[in-house]
Amino acid sequence: MSDSARYMAKPDERGRFGEFGGQFVPEALIPACQELEVAFVEAWADTEFVGEYRQVLHEFAGRPTPVTPLHRLSEHLGLSVFAKREDLAHTGSHKINNVIGQTLLTKRMGKHRVIAETGAGQHGVATATAAARLGLACTVYMGEVDTLRQSLNVFRMELLGATVVPVVSGSRTLKDAVNEAMREWVSCVSDTHYCLGSVMGPHPFPWMVREFQSIIGIEAAQQLRDLGVDPPDAVIACVGGGSNAAGVFAGFANTAARLIGVEAAGGSAVGTGSPGVLHGMRSLLIQDEFGQIEEAHSISAGLDYPGIGPEHAYLADAGRAEYHAIADHDVIEALRLLSELEGIIPALETAHAVAWMTKEAGQSLRSGSTVLLNLSGRGDKDVAQVRAILRGEQ
C-alpha cells in the first residue's frame, strides 16, 4: 500500500473496494442499480449538476459549515481540537448532504418519487426535507419499534409531506426497514429512487453516498489549511453505516492524518463482525455462527446498524483507517463534556467520537496533537433520552 493516492478513489468495475462492496441484489434491481450508476457517473462529471448540488447545499442546507476551534476542550484534553460543524447543516446533521445529492439525481433520472429507510428518523427527516424542497413524493420505511420510540420524528416527516410506513417484519428496527425498502423498491423501481442513507447497500450507493458526503472533508481540509493545520494529526468520526466518517475521511485519505472511526460497542462491525453479505453489499457484519444477522444495540439509534459500509471494511483491512468501539456508559459523559465546555450539545452518535478522543488524549493522541472531530450532528433529538438515562429511567 505504498501509493497512498489510491485511497477513496472509485471502486473497481465490480463496485468493489478491495474485497468489499459489490452488488448483491435481486435481478429485479440490477437494472436500477446499473441505471443509477450510469446516471451518477454522468451527473458527477457534469459541471451543471455538480454546480446545482453545491448551490442547493449552499443556499438551502447552509454549507459550508464552519470549522470551530474548541478552545476549552482543547485545553482540557491537552490537544488542539477542531470541530467540523455538521450539526449546523439543515435538519441537524450531515445526512442532508447525501439526500440533496440523491434527490437531485432522482429528478435528473426523470423519477418523481423517493423511498428511504430510517432508524431513529434522521435520514428519514432529511429525505423528506429534500423531497419537499424538490417537490418529489416520499415514502419512508421505519421499523415499527422505532416509529414508537421516535414518534416525533414520524410526525416531522409527515409535516414535511412524507408517508411513513411502519415495518412490522423481523426485529422491526433499522435493518428490517432497509429490507422492506429494498422489497418495495422492487415494485416501484421504474418511477422511484431508493435514497439510501449511508455508505452501504449495493454499488453504486457506497461510492455515490461517499461522494455526496465528501464535501465535508473537502471543506474541512481547506478550512484547516486556512487555520494553518495541514493536515491534522488525526481525523475522528463516529461510524454507523459510515457516511459522515467517509465524507470527512475523503478530505484526508491521501494525507498523513490518522483516520479514526468510532463505532458503538454494541454495533461494532469492524471490532466484532466478520465478512458477510447483506443489503446488497459484501462487508463486515455482526452475525451469529450460522450467518444470521444480529441486531446491533447502542444507546444511539444512528449507530444501531449491524454492518459498516464496504469502503470502511476495506480501509480497515488495508490499514489506512482504524476503527474503535466505545461503550454506552462513556457516551453520556462525553456529551456532557462537550456541552459544558463548548456550548455544543452533540448527537449521541457524535458523542462516541468525543468519548474516544477524550479517552485517548495524551495516550495514542499525543499531547499537543491536532485533531479534527467530525461533529456529525446536534443532540437536540437526544436530550429527552439523555435526561431519562441520567435520571435512571432508562
Binding site: Q23, F24, V25, P26, E27, I30, S169, V186, S187, G291
Partner: protein, 255 residues
C-alpha cells in the same frame, strides 16, 4: 449439463408441465413429511428454503415462515441433515440468501448441498455478476445454480441470464417479492424472450397462488413455482394431507 437440468429437460420433453412447490426447511417438526406429501401428489421438483434473518426478496408469508424456523433453531446443516434422510428421486433445490453460504464457506456449502442430495440452488441476492466463484464451486459438485429473470431485465441481461442459468430459468412474473399476486404478471413475455435465446426449461414463479394462475402460467411456460400460497397453508397448521390436496389441485390444473 447438470443432473438437474437433464432431469427437467426430460420432464419437459415428455410433455409434462413441471410443478415446483416451495417449503421452508424446519417450519415444523414434520416438515419433511410435507415435502414427501407434495412429491406424492405430483411435484416434479421441490424448492427448499433455508431460513435467513433478512430475506430481502420475500414477502410477509415467507418472512414469517423463516422467522419461525429460525426460532426453532433451524440451520443450513440441520436442513441438510433432514433432507439427506428424505431419500427421494425428485430433485431438491435449495433456496436461500447468499450470506448463509458465504458464512458456511463457498466450497463447503456446495459440497454440503450435493452430499445432502440437493441438485440445484437459487440465491436471489446473488446476481450473475457476483456469482462466478459460487458457480464454480457448484459446478464441481453437480449443483445447478438457477438464476432469475425479472420483468426489469434488459434484453441483453435476459440473454446472458438465460444462457448462464442451470437447471431452469426462473421467470419472475412480477416486479415484487414472493407472495404478491397483483395484476397479470409478465411471465409469458419473459418466457417467450428466454426461449428465443435458450433451450433451457423455463418456469414461472412469483405470484402463482391459485390453480387457475398455475394453469395459465404453465400454458405459456414449462412449469410453475408455487411458494407463499403453500407456505400459508402450513403456517395455518396444515398437515401432510392438506399439502397433498393443495398440490393435487395444482397438478390437475396444469395437466
Amino acid at each position: 449439463m447438470k443432473s438437474l437440468e437433464v432431469r427437467l429437460r426430460e420432464i419437459r420433453d415428455s410433455g409434462r408441465k413441471a410443478l415446483v412447490p416451495y417449503f421452508m426447511a424446519g417450519l415444523s417438526e414434520d416438515w419433511t413429511d410435507h415435502v414427501a406429501g407434495a412429491i406424492h401428489a405430483g411435484a416434479d421438483a421441490v424448492e427448499i428454503g433455508i431460513p435467513f434473518s433478512d430475506p430481502m426478496m420475500d414477502g410477509v408469508v415467507i418472512q414469517e415462515a423463516a422467522l419461525r424456523a429460525l426460532g426453532s433453531g433451524v440451520t443450513f446443516d440441520s436442513a441438510c441433515d433432514d433432507l439427506a434422510r428424505l431419500a427421494t428421486e425428485v430433485p431438491l433445490i435449495a433456496m436461500t440468501y447468499f450470506n448463509i453460504f458465504h458464512h458456511y464457506g463457498i466450497e463447503r456449502s456446495a459440497g454440503r448441498l450435493h452430499s445432502s442430495g440437493l441438485s440445484g440452488v437459487i440465491v436471489p441476492d446473488l446476481s450473475l455478476e457476483e456469482s462466478p466463484e459460487w458457480v464454480a464451486s457448484c459446478d464441481a459438485n453437480d449443483v445447478a445454480t438457477i438464476f432469475l429473470v425479472a420483468p426489469s431485465s434488459t434484453p441483453e441481461r435476459l440473454k446472458l441470464i438465460a444462457q448462464s442459468t442451470q437447471g431452469f430459468a426462473y421467470a419472475s412474473a412480477r416486479m415484487a417479492v414472493t407472495g404478491s399476486s397483483s395484476g397479470d404478471g409478465e411471465g409469458a413475455r419473459i418466457v417467450k424472450a428466454i426461449r428465443e435465446v435458450s433451450t433451457v426449461p423455463t418456469y414461472i414463479g412469483i405470484g402463482i397462488t391459485t390453480p387457475e394462475q398455475a394453469r395459465a402460467a404453465s400454458g405459456v411456460s414449462d412449469g410453475v413455482i408455487v411458494g407463499s400460497a403453500l407456505v400459508q397453508v402450513l403456517l395455518d397448521g396444515g398437515s401432510a394431507s392438506d399439502v397433498e390436496r393443495f398440490i393435487g389441485d395444482f397438478r390437475r390444473a396444469i395437466d
